[in-house]
Assembly symmetry: C2
Homo-oligomer: 262 residues x 2
């Protein structure tokens, strides 16, 4: 049976690659992934056929993975982080759904997609890597919001930011800025300042767990898109999140309220 693994490889450091993800890649003959992700995996990818498409061709990449698996290959479709979170997994199912509905999906062998054994392998997502690096920022109810308005109308995103503010969720912004997109993050900040204090702790984590990792802890009023790029995660505490300084070591955590019981 043809097989497609949809694999999240974690934030970057191979110490966070699960055995399940590693094994999935090892048994695959063909890897479909943006080149940078494969570079991070080092010699794990040796001897396998690489298929790369540029950033922005996500639909093509999902279709290619399905076509390769349908043709009998054992394929891993790979992204960093958790491939189920703002990544390629959902595209595969969108395409499968269209095929099941008999819609045009631009593939000669899409009928065989339905015979593929599909397995999704989750990975450590950036928000988890970031929170753990600075303590326990995700210690209570949290949400994630993508600030990319390529596929989601800005009014939907803005509504979600307001909802997250009203609900006092810890918020992780994925895709906070891109080369062509820079105003959304500051707009989001200004909205959240209506709901939580200017002193709310904020994590800016770039290239988390990678060699060139850079982590900055700041406050909501000082958050600025100029300090953020597309390799950066931005996580914003809730109204109870705490910044603590022990010697020169900074921590940020969101309490669940246990200390009230002491």
């Amino acid at each position: 049976m043809s097989k497609l693994f949809i694999v999240g490889t974690g934030p970057g450091d191979l110490d966070f690659l699960t055995p399940k993800a590693k094994h999935s890649i090892e048994v695959s003959t063909d890897l479909v992934a943006y080149g940078l992700y494969l570079d991070l995996l080092g010699n794990l990818c040796e001897g396998k056929t690489h298929h790369d498409l540029p950033l922005g061709e996500e639909i093509g990449r999902a279709r290619l993975a399905l076509d390769l698996a349908a043709s009998g290959k054992t394929v891993s479709l790979i992204s960093s982080g958790d491939i189920g979170i703002y990544a390629m997994a959902t595209l595969v199912f969108e395409l499968l759904d269209l095929e099941l509905q008999g819609k045009e999906v631009d593939s000669n062998i899409s009928k065989q997609w339905l015979d593929i054994d599909i397995e999704v392998v989750p990975g450590i997502s950036a928000m988890q890597a970031g929170a753990s690096r600075v303590g326990a920022l995700l210690g209570h109810d949290f949400c994630t919001i993508s600030l990319s308005d390529l596929l989601t109308p800005w009014q939907t995103i803005e509504k979600r930011i307001h909802s997250a503010g009203q609900g006092d969720f810890v918020i992780s912004f994925y895709n906070p800025v891109s080369k062509k997109r820079d105003w959304q993050l500051n707009t989001a900040r200004d909205i959240l300042l209506k709901y939580r204090p200017a002193s709310t702790p904020v994590l800016i984590g770039r290239q988390l767990t990678r060699d060139d990792e850079k982590i900055v802890i700041t406050t909501l009023d000082k958050l600025d898109a100029k300090d953020v790029d597309m390799f950066t995660l931005v996580s914003i505490g809730n109204s109870e999140s705490r910044y603590i300084l022990n010697g020169n070591k900074e921590w940020v955590y969101t309490p669940r309220g246990y200390s009230k019981k002491l």
Copy 2:
């Protein structure tokens, strides 16, 4: 230097235990954890001193881990899932925060807590295990809400459920019910039915990735607390989440909207 690893071991199956978590446990002399979690880890824990405290004594467990590390041991404080998400990590920092403020923390050596080298190791959380098992339910903006009102007032939780409904987030409920607590989940369901269709796909995942895993896909109107226990994750799709059936294989995914571009 005394060392405390705060380690998430993932949903259960050791195939999801990261090398980092494994290594942290391997180099530790002392493990602090609820017994069940250690059972899942098998012989990885052999030859180490186990410290167990009953469920409900979370503060004691965090304090014990700090005290052991302060006394010079290399300690792993362990929970399943991601220890930074509704788990023990934030308690350690709550205690550390109190000590830094000079408050009473009921430890003879709490001054030495401040010298401990602390490292938090994230793990795959239940929502990720669940979403991957059924496809890509976390494919777009999502949130988590704990339904336990032991530490958080119900009115705060209820407000968050409304906010999550208004923002149309995919929602994962942690601690959906317990032996003494059963009404919150059905109340949450009734709130959400005001915001999204009765046909919204719902994942009920029990003992995810473990030998006795049980997964049920249902709809929001059919969600009932009687089908859920404390080993269960409940994840609710947003208004666009889709259920698809391919032969006898069920999938659920939340689209990002790529198919509109096809």
